[in-house]
Symmetry: C2
Subunit: 814 residues, 2 copies
Amino acid sequence: MAPRDPKEDGFGVGGGGGAADPEADIEAPLLVSSGSSFLLDPALEDGGGDEEQRRRRRRFLHGSHTHSNTTSQVALVGADVCPIESLDYELIENDVFKQDWRAQGRGHILRYVALKWALCFLVGALSAAAGFVANLGVENVAGAKFVVTSNLMLDGRHGSAFAVFLASNFALTMLAAVMTVYVAPAAAGSGIPEVKAYLNGVDAPNIFSLKTLIVKVVGCIAAVSSSLHVGKAGPLVHTGACIASILGQGGSRKYHMTCRWLRYFKNDRDRRDLVTCGSAAGIAAAFRAPVGGVLFALETVSSWWRSALLWRAFFTTAMVAVVLRALIDFCQSGKCGLFGKGGLIMFDVTADYVTYHLIDLPPVITLGVFGGILGSLYNFFLDKVLRLYNLINEKGKTYKLLLAATVTVCTSCCLFGLPWIAACKPCPTDTGEACPSIGRSGNFKKFQCAMDEYNDLASLFFNTNDDTIRNLYSAGTDDEFHISSILVFFVASYFLGIFSYGLALPSGLFVPVILTGAAYGRLVGMLIGSQSTLDHGLFAVLGSAALLGGSMRMTVSVCVIILELTNNLRMLPLVMLVLLISKVVADAFNANVYDLLVRLKGFPHLEGYAEPYMRQLTVSDVVTGPLQTFNGIEKVGHIVHVLKTTGHNGFPVVDEPPFSDTPTLYGLILRDHLLVLLRKKDFIRSCTASTRNASNHFSHAEFAKRGSGKHDRIEDIELCPEELEMFVDLHPFTNTSPYTVLETMSLAKALILFREVGLRHLLVLPKSSKRAPVVGILTRHDFMPEHILGLHPFLFKSRWKKVRLGKVKVTNIF
Amino acid sequence: MAPRDPKEDGFGVGGGGGAADPEADIEAPLLVSSGSSFLLDPALEDGGGDEEQRRRRRRFLHGSHTHSNTTSQVALVGADVCPIESLDYELIENDVFKQDWRAQGRGHILRYVALKWALCFLVGALSAAAGFVANLGVENVAGAKFVVTSNLMLDGRHGSAFAVFLASNFALTMLAAVMTVYVAPAAAGSGIPEVKAYLNGVDAPNIFSLKTLIVKVVGCIAAVSSSLHVGKAGPLVHTGACIASILGQGGSRKYHMTCRWLRYFKNDRDRRDLVTCGSAAGIAAAFRAPVGGVLFALETVSSWWRSALLWRAFFTTAMVAVVLRALIDFCQSGKCGLFGKGGLIMFDVTADYVTYHLIDLPPVITLGVFGGILGSLYNFFLDKVLRLYNLINEKGKTYKLLLAATVTVCTSCCLFGLPWIAACKPCPTDTGEACPSIGRSGNFKKFQCAMDEYNDLASLFFNTNDDTIRNLYSAGTDDEFHISSILVFFVASYFLGIFSYGLALPSGLFVPVILTGAAYGRLVGMLIGSQSTLDHGLFAVLGSAALLGGSMRMTVSVCVIILELTNNLRMLPLVMLVLLISKVVADAFNANVYDLLVRLKGFPHLEGYAEPYMRQLTVSDVVTGPLQTFNGIEKVGHIVHVLKTTGHNGFPVVDEPPFSDTPTLYGLILRDHLLVLLRKKDFIRSCTASTRNASNHFSHAEFAKRGSGKHDRIEDIELCPEELEMFVDLHPFTNTSPYTVLETMSLAKALILFREVGLRHLLVLPKSSKRAPVVGILTRHDFMPEHILGLHPFLFKSRWKKVRLGKVKVTNIF
């Protein structure tokens, strides 16, 4: 499609222009904004938009998901469909910015740097506190539940025990679900896909609000305590990111709590850095793994990374480690109730435990291969179940609660019912641990057995996830579990994890996968038997690595996290080997679980590499829709009209004669900045008088980016007819250094520029000087494969498409 | 300075055009090439250029270094001044490339991916082998020397012992120096600055040649064995990078050993990735620290990083760990001579050794603060000494050898002389180790003492560096060393390290700093005495971290390397704390040692952030010199003339009427590609006949990038007068997707684009359509602070300059 002359369309809005495919016309109001980024569609916000929103939500959830990714401006955030928007990582270099910037002395810069570090410190300390509170809560709530249940079982009152177990699990699940559904739907799920999307440049309202933060922490405690197979790690990453974002926002204007000092952080770039540190702090707090946290943020979550950020993220996680250690030390004096060993899986592996030889290689390789297969199957089932759950959840809040209730009841029945099929085992005599263990945790649960016996399956089911993992990892326990018990536990844990994730409550994927992997590893160890000299505890650790590698596809970070969990570096080669094998095997089948979730949720995630077919196209092939430009000195009425009728977020400013000899591109102005101008009403009477000192009336702070999800709206600004006839000088507010590409640039190289520099708008310039100075704008939308393949269906048939759709996503490996 | 119309200058070359400052005229022949990248200046290469080269070298070494960085196209590579050149990371999307690319099926892609992994495997395995050979060599050579010396001392023949010690050290040093000076000058030094510059996009001939590789390994063994205070880590990084680069080159055309399969790697991007993996493998092999190696490459060496690369680098270092372990296992059977404990500092710290409490914080903080000060002082002295050494080395090969001889004699005298001032200590009775230890290693050296005594200073001096570090790190040895001995050793080690680095032989900085730091830590531990409960061995570990943090300024990688060295993760919070403190303190004084070396060597290293004053300038302010463009169909004679008279490496191709309505930018063509065209002589008779199928006569492989430092030269191509009158169609060979910026773009944002995308040429487009379609080219050169401040001296006086020159380089911290 040839790029259009911007003048050709005049005020032309709506209608989707000349988009070629028929579907584009159906989705016209959405496609119009191809020259804009993902924005709040006005129709979504005014009162009458309710029906439209419902319709779109339905289309999003039912329709071809892959297609709605790009044409819709909505995504599934937590448990609700929300409008999404692109972030501005580019420095808006207009006169106002430059003036403010020149006015900043050395003191400002030092204060900025000091604040940055202070914020990182706070993020670290608060994330550690949040992680500690989550653990403390889980250990005490779940602990109390297990103690009461165990005592009833001890008295032989099995029915009452089940009733207590079921009721408490039900109540806890419902608490989490009700809070999530009614207070903060964005808190549902792990939150890692949302954080990943945010760090890729996609914002959604409320993902980092205070409400979300509170619901996430409290809901996470309730959900994990309710014996659902969900983890704390994902929610803690989201919590860390929330804390970072809220701290960076510099208080709330609504509650008149603003901090002038924090004004430096009122932009998307600094917030991105803080949120990256926050997500690193989350993993560090979840696993007491500071280095692993940094690597996790680097490898999985973030899209942009600098050396300076590495250092700051490291500082943040170091603070997490220090604060966490202090809090745990405090608890060791017994002041924290049932928080005994602590819910943080920290497990010291003694050196003699880790001895391995060459003959152990085949079992370890086998473990990796099947771990990869099981991991990719995990992703496959999770995808199917989530699609089903989305359809149920979408029917309304009651359905969400009903779904959660159903799953928790089933889970409780499983956990209480399955141990009955296990045979009682006599207590070993040579163990230092009490057998059977009467308290909350321990390897030997009595359950229905006699006094000197224990039920090995109950020992796995009737503990918190952290304790079970610790039990499975422990050395010298090869005979403690019967193979059938481990098999039952593995299968139950595998599917419970899959069925528990999509509920409308905070739930992580990490811990269930580690747990299932530990069972899987023990199982393999038992099956291999005397063929290997490895301890079954070590097999459990390697099994966790294999399943994590197969499902999450992280390598370095998972490896370091496991090493930090077990505090032994000797296992490094084995863990690396297992991870590499399982990742390679699993990559042959499907994408990693976070990419899958991001796609399922409909976030327009921008990959860092170009798809092969992009080399076949130039940028002019994907630029669509009418381009809307403004004059350097523009009529207020025109601006208002354009803002009301389009959804574009950036407009090229062109100086036309008589202000210049020929039409000349002056720069790019943002919708947000235009709204500030209109609100301030600093207009001029005549089109000819260029009053460039207009910037003196504005301070840079007025243009500062507001908190996540907060926006001015053109509908809220009231202008009288007289004002609409006046003019406004856009020059001082226009970004004079927009990034540009020629229309003959290949799409692949434009994508690299767009992604590497972190852009929101990319101007397309004409090749020939005879035409208008700018012929289009590229946004995130225009690089989405679905958009491109929609415009150029012939690519579907070409083999490039085939390569892309093939099982091995080879471009990813490049 | 206003950008010039390219047409204005016609064939205009030379004379430095309108460069404003007087110095530009003096350096005219160099400044001409501002529109090009760092290239082989023709004058440097022809026979008569000898005098010119000497002159330039002299200017480089004597003159203001900061200025010659940018205006000269030479840098100090190893021990010699060499021409340097930019690398092409951009994909050259011309017709030939596209044709080749479309012809590649799925098989090609899979083969490419498989090869990539196979190469990584080979790089890992060979780096591990190189590391092992280096250690084996050092342990045996140095071991034999120490055994002979010890035995002579045992017999009381102190004079002979000294003679043997001195002579062997002298011989080993001379071996290393002669090899380096006469065979491969690029092998001198650690090589990390060269690798860092290469990964930033600056190439120099011979840094990765086979000769360099061999000299590096052999020279490193000799130099380290000669008791010079130099390390193996830096040379191993260079070795790993060499191996990667040589493997990626796909054999040698000269020896008719080319591998067709490896043709995919004949470009700078894939080589960069391989070299990154190679440098990670180097550190992994030096310290047996696979994760630390990856982080080192990420944090310190590389300039571009992708998630996919993280995975591949991790795979490479995993291979290093596996191969190294296998080789060491093989040696434990005693087949490797004196390679007993192995020269790889792997030191298991037992758990009880690492107990710390709140009262240990003040000593640790003190350690960090003084470590930072000592580290920055280390850098300061190193800088001064290197400048002095450069002046001496530059006088000729004999001077280089003399300098090395002087330093090794002084070192030997120090090492042999200083222990005499230490008092003999009686052997402890409760140690499991033999005292005095007669063999090569051990904590108790007899030296001149009686049979049941030992000399603690000799125990430190008369071991290999690795053994000394192990001794200093060992726990429960608080009383083994007298404080005066540790003090003497610390001071001697501090200055010996500084004076040993700049010699013309392979020498690393890492190990001397670790060693000095260990002594420093012990010293602090002794001074603090009973104020702290920490073991002195732990103090030594923390001291190493403090000095590394103060000198190298790495955080995450040093932290992980130290944890991997000591195999205990409990120290993590302490090590982190010390590193952060020492880095912050040292950053207040000067830059890190690698940045310092890169600058001293004159590499035009492109930083990832914009200096404040760059926001004040637009790209048109720094574009200098005449722009040379070609027509789409150009006369051969003109091309030859331009190539001979300019040093530019990229030329915009502009379609002029009658081939287009108005002058239109078609793309950018590289000098290398023009040379291929001229060599093939596929010319056309008339200017009008556009024979676009010319690309059929060429295969993509002909345009493949040749090995590092290998170039076609225009002088080697002979064309008859008739051919000079013919034409050549440049269209199929022109990159049609060059990156562009408008002339009004701020320099800071252009730098971000240039650096993030990894460009060599950035075209500057006019703002107004009335002018020529391209008004200039930006290269690496144009972003160098010295060039910009040379063009705009007023910035020197502005406070932006002050901020930049201030002690705290605040922009770095952002």
